[in-house]
Symmetry: C2
Subunit: 265 residues, 2 copies
DNA sequence: CGTGTTCTTGAAACTTGTCAAAGTTAGTGG
DNA sequence: CCACTAACTTTGACAAGTTTCAAGAACACG
């Protein structure tokens, strides 16, 4: 019940005891420890399995030929690297650990076993995938439309909300094991300006940031600066999904895949 | 054989005559004509079906409360709006036509029929979906790391390559029914600066752009300015997928959904 | 207790945005 | 088919935001 994948998927569907049991040994399948700054997989690698972050922070990123680098997303405990790695012949981006991290390697066949055994789990996996897409869209907007200050505030909001959803906050504080250089690669602003931007957020009494220790002093103020609306994170999708579990079929039209499972199962 | 969905999916898998037949009437299911600047669906709408662009150009976009707007992607003939609309209770972004456009409305049940009837089609649909995600990642990098000039060049490269793949180019020219204001919303730069940037591309003898008529004068030069690598568009994915069709099961580990279809079918 | 990484600061340069107005094009109705 | 209007493109001058470079301070690790 307490493994990260269970907790994650439980956000998207009301899982039964059997569902949890199914996920339980998936988490233990094969665990790999990755040190800070080490890659989990690299652009161009042949995909072998899905990676599930059990503990620690990771990021997905992609580089330009000349060395410029863009962080695509941060992966927190319970997050699965996106499924493209299984369908395409080569990974088109890399993933690396920001702190000491442990990741579970889940084979494709295991995933499909899980999905076939439980329509709820398939539904939850699809939703988890779609939430990843929604986040990528939000990052697109963040980079395209927001100012440096707004972007930083937005990123901090996202991380704080996500950490809170998985129980990794204490009141209004959390860890932020990310260097300013990495924040720069995530927000598309220079490292120097990240520094100035963080100072501005501090000066506005919105956050306190010392070392890797972040405190949100004024979450509403921060959200308002960031034009942050947590909807895209779908942190409470479970309400609708609960109906799914009850009726056997989702109340909203299912994605092609969810539909498949419902009919074909 | 000649409908846009067929052509699109044929890029991702070697389709049989039956596959094409299946797709044939899907395209005709229900066609809606949308005038320029008109919305196909709007953020907050309840999803009813998938939209397939048959003809004309459309865009997906999302707005900030204060009116700033980010284009998320352009949809050309053969493109499907992404599938999130079916799994989430509310659309989290809008889609609107850039020119007179016709879109087919494909119901969720129809999609799942198609997917269940042919593993190849399911596989192709999944790939189509993943290519959309890869594009979104590329846009993230574009906005985060490239300069205004590089971004414009990159966007033009993407559009030209995509148009060529669907036969909508004539030599090195194509239509570009997009105002500079829209290009601004897509590249995250101001409309005025878009204008200057286009002039710079013209001055470098890379493109000719008069009205809605675009000519690429030096595609290699443009790609090099843009740091453009067409790989993410997966314009030639069919090679691997051909194997799929032959062996009945993909040679690379299938996505959870493709796996489902292969086993459950 | 070094030593390398990360954070911070200042000044100057550069890119991009804003404002405002003029020119051009396209579409509509008389 | 012209005239008129609205939408779109182009221009210049200036302001603002952000980057770059360079150097010093703080911190973290072995």
């Amino acid at each position: 019940m307490s493994n990260p994948l269970s907790r994650r998927l439980a956000r998207f569907a009301a899982l039964t005891a059997e569902d949890h049991a199914l996920l339980e040994d998936a988490g233990g399948e094969r665990v790999r420890r990755v040190g800070a700054r080490e890659d989990v997989f690299r652009e161009g690698d042949r995909p072998r399995c899905l990676y599930l972050v059990l503990d620690g922070w990771a990021m997905r990123y992609k580089s330009l030929e000349d060395g410029r680098r863009q962080v695509l997303s941060f992966a927190l405990p319970g997050d699965i690297c996106d499924q493209h790695v299984l369908l395409l012949s080569r990974a088109d981006h890399s993933m690396s650990a920001l702190s000491a991290t442990s990741v579970a390697e889940i084979s494709a066949t295991r995933i499909s076993e899980i999905a076939r055994a439980s329509p709820r789990l398939l539904y939850a996996l699809c939703l988890s995938n779609l939430v990843g897409q929604a986040s990528q869209r939000e990052w697109t907007i963040n980079l395209g439309q927001r100012t440096a200050l707004e972007r930083m505030a937005h990123l901090i909001c996202e991380l704080f909300f996500r950490l809170r959803a998985i129980g990794l906050t204490h009141g209004n504080t959390c860890e932020l094991p990310v260097t300013q250089a990495t924040l720069a690669d995530a927000t598309g602003i220079s490292a120097v300006h990240v520094n100035r931007t963080l100072q501005e957020l501090r000066a506005s009494n919105l956050i306190t940031l010392r070392g890797k220790h972040l405190t949100i002093d004024d979450i509403e103020g921060l959200q308002s600066v960031a034009l942050f609306n947590p909807g895209y994170l779908h942190l409470d999708e479970v309400e609708r999904a609960t109906q799914t579990a009850r009726d056997g079929e989702p109340t909203t039209p299912p994605l092609l895949l969810a539909a498949l499972a419902a009919d074909g199962g």
